[in-house]
């Protein structure tokens, strides 16, 4: 059965302020969704709600017609979320960080391949605190190569990385799309991705 993510009447309030309301979309296999919006329009909040990290005030998020709150662990195992906080330990090396992640999902191989793909294989054995912001982001994005997931949720994946890095990430998204995966990401940049791509504009 093909996977679908469908969002119905999603509303989110922060404090007393309404961030967004009545968001509706459906994402099928092989589709990419880019979320746009000015700063503070709730892009990050929306992604956190979609990943199941934050609660929404109203609305439904259905993964294969099941509300994600009821299938928390199963849903979590199908997604790959990279937020503003990268989830990497500064005291560990890039290699170790990734190694711990693949143990989490019971996979041993391909760490070096992932680091090579993201172009930081020569930095793999340095403690992460010695890497630049862009290199750290690349290390976090190496998780996408390492851990296959049906749905990628990426918050500003192009932040801090150079042009070449952006092209890498775009090609990763294309591969994910070809393999029948889904991608949801936020970015202000225009990307060369056009095939099967949806856009969602958030407005205050």
């Amino acid at each position: 059965m093909p996977n679908t993510l469908s969002v119905q009447d999603l509303t989110c309030e922060k404090g007393e302020q309404l961030l967004f309301s009545n968001i509706n979309f459906t994402l099928n296999e092989g589709e990419i969704l880019q979320i746009r919006g000015v700063n503070g329009s709730g892009k990050t909040s929306l992604l956190r709600i979609l990943a199941g990290l934050a609660f929404c005030n109203n609305g439904l998020i259905l993964w294969n017609n099941m509300p994600i709150q009821t299938i928390r662990e199963q849903f979590a195992a199908q997604i790959n979320y990279i937020g503003h906080k990268l989830g990497l330990k500064d005291d560990l090396t890039a290699y170790e960080n990734l190694a711990y992640y693949c143990h989490f999902r019971k996979k041993h191989t391909l760490i070096n391949h992932a680091l090579t793909t993201l172009g930081i294989i020569d930095k793999g054995l340095l403690p992460l605190r010695q890497l630049s912001a862009g290199q750290k982001r690349r290390a976090a994005l190496a998780k996408l190569v390492l851990l296959p997931a049906k749905l990628w949720i990426l918050d500003e994946p192009f932040t801090a990385i150079d042009k070449e890095g952006v092209n890498f990430v775009v090609s990763l998204m294309e591969t994910q799309q070809q393999q029948g995966g889904m991608v949801i990401f936020t970015s202000h940049q225009d990307t060369p991705l056009t095939h099967n791509k949806k856009e969602l504009q958030l407005s205050c």
């Binding site: 195992a77 989830g87 560990l92 992640y101 019971k106």
Partner: protein, 223 residues
């Protein structure tokens, strides 16, 4: 599931051994605080034996609290906590692994050094054994309860003192039964009853606390 549990413990150990200072602090605190009392009160054997249970237990309890506020803080700040929530393994299992590694890294060294402290307080062997047993059963409960407080206050900027105020009242029963074991031993009574109660606390804490910790952590990432 079991594998994720051990992976977390491995990760905590490799992180801890990269910041060794943090590792030694509770131990040094425990040794210094306990050695202040004989100096301040009296070196008399009778008095030392009388105050030993209280002093050792209170010092062990405070040493446990010492770095508890950092238990989930770095995970929260660098985003590892979010990744743990989304790892597909139940969060309570991972929380239990964090608590286990915290206990192994802070309380075990303290228990290992405690016979030395007992020697300083001139405790007889029977009471030293009672002390070891009570600490072995009691300190994991302290870690479990403290981790709930740590999880609840993880999103706050200065959580240290709030955490202490929040958690200390819940430490009272453990303190009573922990010192109870040692007092029973010194008055040459059987201390099996108090020890059994500590064991019951431990079973209860290990089964229920991870659920509370996981729930608290989920609330904290919801911002």
């Amino acid at each position: 599931m079991l594998k994720s549990f051990f992976i977390i413990i491995c990760r905590e150990f490799s992180l801890a051994f990269r910041a060794k200072q943090e590792l030694i602090n509770p131990l040094v605190f425990f040794v210094i605080v306990t050695s202040l009392f004989p100096l301040a009160i009296s070196p008399d054997t009778k008095i030392l034996q009388l105050i030993a249970p209280g002093v050792i237990w209170v010092a062990a309890l405070l040493a446990t609290l010492l770095s508890l506020d950092k238990l989930f803080k770095s995970d929260f700040e660098d985003g590892s906590l979010e990744q743990m929530i989304l790892s597909g393994t139940p969060l309570s299992i991972l929380a239990l692994a964090k608590v286990c590694s915290y206990w192994l890294l802070t309380s075990i060294p303290l228990i290992i050094i405690s016979p030395l402290i007992a020697f300083m307080f001139q405790l007889p062997v029977r009471e030293t054994i009672a002390m070891l047993l009570s600490l072995l059963l009691g300190t994991p409960v302290l870690c479990c309860l403290g981790a709930i407080g740590s999880a609840l206050t993880v999103g706050l900027r200065s959580s240290g003192i709030l955490l202490t105020l929040l958690i200390l009242p819940f430490y009272v029963p453990i303190l009573i039964f922990g010192t109870g074991v040692m007092i029973a031993a010194i008055t040459e009574l059987s201390y099996a009853g108090q020890l059994a109660l500590l064991g019951a606390f431990l079973v209860l804490a290990i089964t229920l606390c991870p659920l509370a910790i996981a729930a608290a952590l989920r609330i904290c990432v919801n911002y």
